[in-house]
């Protein structure tokens, strides 16, 4: 367990090849005086030119948890292990995965293969567990509307944590739990949140007498991302999502409350 004495750390999920958002995040956290950055995995998918993410991670000493995507890319698997079950979702996920796999260097793949499944921190007097989907399963979807409090409380107890931060779903939310404990899904910086805005989200965890978590909206050059997606021959649906902020693919996995917030 790493003991962190900084007042604030930044935690983000799902880069999805969006190196433009990652560069914007590095700049935004610098402005805030935050030097410790943690990524909860899924470096590939959705966006263009996967290898542009790698130097940004290395140069800024970003610590990365291995997501399902990174496990697949690193180990040369046939699919992303995203956990989709509907053929409509899997159709677009496979296009994205095949593109990312074909355009990731061997060095970056090997690096992804060696990433840890979890990172544990001592921060603000709390035991903080950083994971991808859930403490128990890398590709588990923990949506706000389908995850009960007592399930989360049992997970935190079972995994000896006071704070658990996860990603994987693409939508950020947090919930205070009994015993001054906290679960948060930090969202992703790779894709906007299906709310009609083009920004993405990350989280800042602050230590004081305990911890506080604040979600931070992050703007980046989404027009450039969309253009580069088109230049790379990725589906027009992906560029449409970047430009409009509405999800156009991989929608069938959404529970009803989350699905109703979008237009598709």
């Amino acid at each position: 367990m790493q003991k962190i004495t900084d007042e604030k750390i930044a935690v983000f999920g799902g880069v999805y090849n969006n190196y433009l958002a990652l560069a914007a995040l590095v700049a935004d956290t610098k402005r805030r005086g935050i030097t410790k950055l943690y990524c909860l995995g899924d470096l590939g998918a959705f966006g263009p030119t996967p290898d542009k993410v790698y130097p940004l991670l290395r140069e800024n000493q970003i610590q990365v948890v291995q997501g399902n995507y990174d496990n697949s890319i690193g180990n040369g698997l046939n699919d992303c292990q995203c956990g989709y079950t509907d053929p409509r979702d899997n159709h677009f996920a496979q296009i994205s995965y095949d593109y990312t796999f074909a355009n990731t260097s061997d060095e970056f793949k090997a690096w992804q293969r060696g990433l840890p499944k979890e990172i544990r921190l001592q921060f603000g007097g709390k035991r903080v567990l950083l994971c991808h989907g859930s403490p128990r399963q890398t590709n588990e979807f923990l949506w706000e509307s389908t995850t009960s409090n007592h399930f989360l409380e049992k997970q935190l107890s079972d995994f000896d944590a006071d704070v658990v931060l996860a990603t994987h779903t693409g939508l950020h939310w947090q919930r205070e739990l009994t015993g001054d404990r906290l679960f948060a899904n930090v969202g992703v910086i790779g894709r906007p949140e299906n709310d009609g805005t083009t920004n993405v989200w990350y989280a800042v965890l602050s230590a004081h007498d305990g911890v506080d978590l604040e979600f931070v909206p992050l703007d980046y050059d989404y027009q450039r991302l969309a253009r580069e997606m088109e230049d790379e021959g990725l589906p027009s649906e992906f560029a449409q999502t970047a430009r409009t902020g509405w999800w156009t693919t991989c929608l069938e996995i959404l529970p009803v409350k989350e699905r109703l917030r979008g237009t598709f």
């Binding site: 079950t85 128990r136 389908t146 995850t147 009960s148 049992k154 069938e252 996995i253 529970p255 009803v256």
Partner: protein, 322 residues
């Protein structure tokens, strides 16, 4: 329990008539030969409620537990009984709750039960949609709006035309179910249309496209569709066929298999008669595990041939499963 006794007395190869007494004859159960593999309960993530018992306003020819207006093998669950299990489920860390039957809406306590449940976690109701009129749909919307959790509906329709559907689900059921879907959609829900696969594999795309167009024709512009494989027990055994002799789960098949795909490794089913291993096997006395959830966490031997369908198709009962 005469019905149950009649069922369990049946043997493979006996002639079966489509009557209330015998139409649930179970599939062959291994009584000799190698021990079946056992499925551990890894965690109790999903709690099912047989809230409508085996009582239904339809008499579908593929029903794997042979529900009907006359099948009282299992009765309605009382609100207090459900509340007791809900309370117990908190300590066990249950993530979500499912309600089935029979037809859950025949239990008049269902809206109150859903309100109780949604105070604790997400809920899904498996229904034929027939009893969801505009007033009921509006009430359900109110219950949903008062919770942070999702309230999902799975509405069963088994054909894209009245002729296709009604030959399985009964005369007039197509129009009534479609109206129930429309009422849910008008109230702001996105029901999951659940189709039991009774067609040949090659017909899959036609059926899927047909359902998409059907739903759009009633104003459901982004239909959610789930196809479930046939469970060859109960009336389905008579309608189509039972399991072949080799359609069974063996210990060898469990090697290198992700047993979390089996529903019984992450769920249990509460009924008015106690806690069963899963909602598919409630006609089998050995599937009754306990009166209490906390005592129902024992491993379960995969001795029934219906287990083979779960093995092949994954956790078919869950909303999000392939």
């Amino acid at each position: 329990m005469n019905v149950m006794q009649t069922r369990t007395a049946k043997r493979e190869g006996d002639s079966v008539k489509l009557t209330e007494a015998v139409d649930s004859a179970p599939e062959q159960t291994r009584n000799n030969g190698p021990e079946p593999p056992s499925a551990p309960l890894h965690s109790l993530d999903t709690l099912w409620f047989q809230v409508g018992g085996t009582i239904c306003n339809l008499w579908c020819s593929h029903c794997f537990i042979s529900c009907s207006p006359k099948n009282h093998s299992f009765g309605f669950m009382a609100r207090e009984s459900v509340a007791g299990y809900l309370q117990e489920s908190r300590e066990l860390g249950v993530m979500e709750y499912y309600f089935t039957g029979g037809e859950p809406f025949m239990n008049r306590d269902l809206p109150d039960i859903l309100a109780d449940t949604l105070a604790l976690g997400p809920a899904t109701v498996l229904t034929n949609g027939i009893l969801i009129n505009e007033r009921v749909a509006r009430r359900l919307r109110k219950i949903s709006d008062e919770s942070i959790y999702s309230l999902e509906f799975r509405v069963s329709i088994d054909g894209v035309t009245p002729a296709e559907n009604d030959k399985i689900r009964g005369k007039g059921s197509f129009d009534k179910a479609l109206q129930g879907v429309k009422n849910l959609v008008d109230a702001g829900f996105l029901p999951i249309i659940t189709i039991a696969q009774t067609w040949e594999e090659c017909q899959g795309d036609r059926i899927f496209q047909g359902f998409t167009e059907l739903m759009r024709s009633i104003g459901y512009t982004r239909p959610r569709i789930k196809v479930i494989p046939p469970l060859r027990i109960g009336r389905e055994k008579v309608r189509a066929r039972g399991y072949d002799r080799d359609e069974t789960v063996t210990s060898e098949m469990m090697a290198d298999y992700n047993d979390r795909l089996l529903q019984c490794t992450s769920s249990r089913t509460a009924t008015d008669k106690g806690v069963y291993v899963c909602p598919i096997l409630i006609d089998y006395p050995d599937a009754l595990l306990s009166d209490r959830l906390s005592d129902s966490t024992v491993p379960y031997p995969l001795r029934h041939q219906a287990c083979y369908t779960c093995y092949i198709s994954g956790a078919i009962c869950h909303n999000f499963s392939g």
